[in-house]
């Protein structure tokens, strides 16, 4: 499903449920209705302002549809999410399989994801005209469980090649970093929905092991899609857009609908993430043995996606 992302970024807003719709209302003046979105179409609601109010009915209706309600802090990092505790009719069985998964399998899956991420990073670099061989050369070297941590090694070279040697990835910084934060927050919300809808537990991760992170699996599965966001930030940077603005947000959210190559044809990023989560659940259940990862992006199609908007 290709859903919609709803963001509320203005302080004076009240959100409530009316039949099958999320309705947004102004809380000042005539309390005008600003718009309504069908609940079934919503992938995530991002609450990015401080003075918001919302009804419990609305949160329940969103949770019933597995659509996360994301609470954002300054710098556009997600600090919390309200979402369903039951996303799939086979959930209990799938949790069991997820917990019972053996280390060799988990390591193999993580290696597949790292390879895919490196391939996507290389494709992003190729699309921007930067040298991509340093990254694509790493792909073949990744071993089960990525013990040499090529993921981090790749990232270290990648940022310099993509955004220049002066760039430092820093979650607290503004400018391009804040744009990346915003893009990842949107991606994370969409992936979280996919994970829960696939009946997987978001905390039981493959590789991410930070004890304070409740969304480890989400962070694992979104890795291959990050380069799409990075590429969009690069593009916005080229168009001398350096801050999080309504226009740059729109462009970043639209990245979820950009095409990626998969074994079953081209599909939007959002659908790819859903396929990946579903295939992971199937691997845990022993119904499948490989993940549905995006294929290395064709630089031509990536370049084409850089030209619109």
């Amino acid at each position: 499903m290709i859903g919609r992302i709803v963001e509320v970024a203005d302080d004076r807003r009240h959100l409530f449920l009316s039949r099958g719709f999320l309705v947004v209302q102004d809380t000042e003046g005539e309390r005008k209705e600003l718009g309504q979105v069908p609940l079934d179409d919503i992938t995530a609601v991002i609450a990015n302002a401080h003075g918001l109010s919302y009804t419990n009915n609305l949160l329940v209706a969103l949770a019933e549809r597995c659509a996360p309600f994301v609470l954002c802090a300054a710098n556009h990092n997600a600090v919390g999410m309200v979402w369903s505790i039951e996303g799939n009719f086979q959930q209990a069985k799938r949790f069991d399989a997820q917990i019972a998964a053996k280390q060799p399998l988990i390591k193999r899956l993580w290696a597949e994801i790292v390879k895919s991420k490196l391939q996507q990073q290389a494709a992003a670099l190729e699309a921007t005209g930067a040298p991509f061989v340093p990254l694509s050369a790493l792909v073949r070297k990744v071993r089960s469980g990525d013990p040499d941590n090529f993921e981090a090694q790749g990232a270290r070279r990648y940022w310099g090649l993509l955004l220049g040697d002066d760039f430092r990835r820093d979650q607290q910084a503004g400018g391009l970093n804040a744009m990346l934060n915003y893009g990842y927050t949107v991606l994370r919300a969409a992936t979280a929905r996919a994970v829960v809808a696939a009946g997987l537990h978001p905390t039981i991760g493959l590789h991410h092991s930070n004890a304070g992170n409740a969304m480890r699996l989400v962070d694992d599965l979104m890795e291959p899609f990050r380069p799409m966001m990075d590429l969009k930030v690069w593009q916005l940077h080229k168009q001398s857009e350096g801050e999080v603005t309504p226009e740059s947000k729109r462009a970043l959210v639209r990245t979820l609908y950009d095409d990626m190559q998969t074994s079953s044809g081209t599909t939007p990023v959002m659908v790819c993430a859903q396929k990946l989560a579903t295939s992971l659940a199937q691997v845990f259940m022993g119904e499948k043995d490989k993940l549905d990862l995006p294929l290395p992006g064709l630089p031509l199609s990536l370049a084409a996606s850089l030209q619109d908007d």
Partner: protein
């Protein structure tokens, strides 16, 4: 890419009997079911919904079929977003600008 030839619209048009009290209740229930499914009222007894694929349309058609009232007549139309763009709307003598299909990103 999301193409206007793939994105679709579904329109449900109906004429329902509203003479008896029970008939009025059935008609209201049907209208409310449409609203619950995310259909928006375009005119009285004409409800529309934006869909991202033909399969989504097929799902809604099945759901509408399940909630049909006993009497009356219901038509379901389906067309592409490109065709939707060509709707001409008059309000009184005045021609309204064509409506835009919803964006995938809503900022409030």
């Amino acid at each position: 890419m999301l193409s206007g030839y793939r994105l679709m619209w579904i329109t449900v048009m109906f004429d329902l009997p509203v003479v008896e009290k029970a008939e009025r209740k059935a008609a209201t229930d049907f209208r409310n079911t449409l609203l619950d499914m995310g259909f928006e009222m375009s005119q009285f007894s004409v409800y529309m919904r934006f869909c991202s694929s033909q399969s989504q349309i097929d799902t809604y058609i099945l759901q509408v079929e399940k909630s049909l009232p006993t009497g009356g007549k219901v038509n379901i139309l389906q067309f592409t977003d490109k065709q939707y763009e060509r709707i001409i709307t008059f309000q009184g003598k005045k021609k309204n600008p064509s409506k835009k299909s919803p964006d995938q990103y809503d900022l409030f």
